[in-house]
């Protein structure tokens, strides 16, 4: 890599007399190696991304999470059952889901429930998230996997049970992250050249960020201009798909909302002597964040005579 960059420096320095062919051949030779590297880099990146965006499941308006389970009440085990039930409800209603609503995960009743619950509390699963808070009123009940049999309890099952009880009595100890739902961006086309981001304000509120800040970021990233209209919608010049907004918002959340320490979106962005600081409400850690710079914006469109 070092020799390569040296070569590049020579090649692209203004007064080099290298023949182009030689340099190109160097480039070619290296290409294959670098491809490989790139691939691994990309893969690693993806892995990391997955990790880091642990609470940011992709937007998917179509796939709304519904936890519906069969209710099988066993009078003998009533206390545990009702307890578990409460726990479930609790986790659903308290779970402000992390950003964009979650993927649906098929669930087998019983056993897998406990398993995934336990995973959830450990906080490593991406796709198993409690639904929106409006969906709290659904039927949620749980059956202990060993019920009706006299087999041995499995470790995971017991672990799940412990976590359920823990969550019931001391939710903060179970390591349950509160999750914030971000609705998918609603986007309309205004004419052929403008795009209207309808629920922009809504999303700013869920992220607890100043709309101006979010707007600056969006516009800088998209390399365009825009403004808020009378109904507090963001009108942007250019044509953009909801997917585009989603990507940029995700980057915004990673950079300006999520706490690096605990991944909580419960943070405050403040400006202290010209620097922006992000302070976490959950763990108290803070970090500075880069100011938003628009960077170079090329002039597009009609040229004026004279310039």
């Amino acid at each position: 890599m070092v020799s390569n960059s040296l070569a590049a420096q020579k090649h692209y320095s203004p007064n080099s007399i290298h023949t182009e062919k030689a340099c190109i051949s160097i480039g070619r030779e290296d290409k294959r190696i670098i491809r490989l590297k790139d691939l691994s880099a990309i893969m690693a990146e993806e892995e990391n991304q997955n990790e880091l965006v642990a609470d940011i499941a992709p937007f998917d308006p179509t796939k709304k999470k519904k936890k519906k389970k069969v209710v099988i009440q066993d009078p003998a085990d009533d206390s545990v059952d009702s307890l578990a039930e409460k726990t479930e409800n609790l986790s659903v209603s308290e779970g402000l889901e992390a950003t964009f609503s979650g993927k649906k995960k098929k669930k087998k009743p019983g056993h897998s429930d406990l398993l995934s619950d336990e995973k959830e509390s450990i906080g490593e699963d991406v796709d198993d998230q409690p639904g929106d808070d409006e969906e709290a009123g659904e039927i949620v009940l749980q059956q202990l996997p060993w019920e009706g049999t006299d087999r041995d309890y499995e470790y995971e099952e017991l672990l799940g049970r412990v976590f359920n009880i823990l969550r019931e009595n001391n939710p903060e100890l179970a390591g349950d992250r509160r999750r914030t739902v971000m609705r998918p961006p609603q986007v309309l086309r205004e004419g052929t050249k403008k795009t209207v981001f309808v629920n922009f304000m809504d999303l700013c509120k869920t992220m607890h960020r100043q709309p101006e800040h979010v707007m600056t970021f969006l516009l800088a990233e998209m390399g365009t201009s825009g403004s808020l209209d009378g109904q507090q919608r963001l009108v942007i010049k250019g044509r953009f798909a909801p997917k585009n907004f989603e990507g940029i918002l995700r980057r915004y959340v990673n950079e300006y909302v999520i706490c690096n320490g605990c991944k909580s979106p419960d943070t405050i962005l403040s400006k202290e002597n010209r620097l922006f600081f992000l302070r976490c409400e959950k763990c108290g850690s803070g970090r500075s964040v880069a100011p938003i710079k628009a960077g170079f914006v090329a002039r597009v469109g009609r040229r004026k005579a004279g310039t």
């Binding site: 692209y12 670098i34 907004f245 940029i248 970090r287 597009v300």
Partner: protein
Amino acid sequence: MSDLDLQVPAAFDPFAEANADNSGAGTKDYVHIRIQQRNGRKSLTTVQGLKKEFSYNKILKDLKKEFCCNGTVVQDPELGQVIQLQGDQRKNVSTFLVQAGIVKKEHIKIHGF
């Protein structure tokens, strides 16, 4: 092998920014690759922040040849020289710059959607 490890950028290194700041120029260290929409389905890619030692015209020449697109070097009063290319060449440009050893992968920031 160690070389390969170096190439792998930690996607979320909390100290990345701090380190970049320590190395002197701060955020200016990054090479920014941006996209801009033009009329219709046309777009424009801009590359800002390459080291001054490089001959922008030579890089541009190779970029144009490689991606079969037109382009130009513009002089910006604040940001210095910026390469402009026709079309969305963000991925292309970034791989090219890394392959040619002009910029390290972790110093490239791709903007846009």
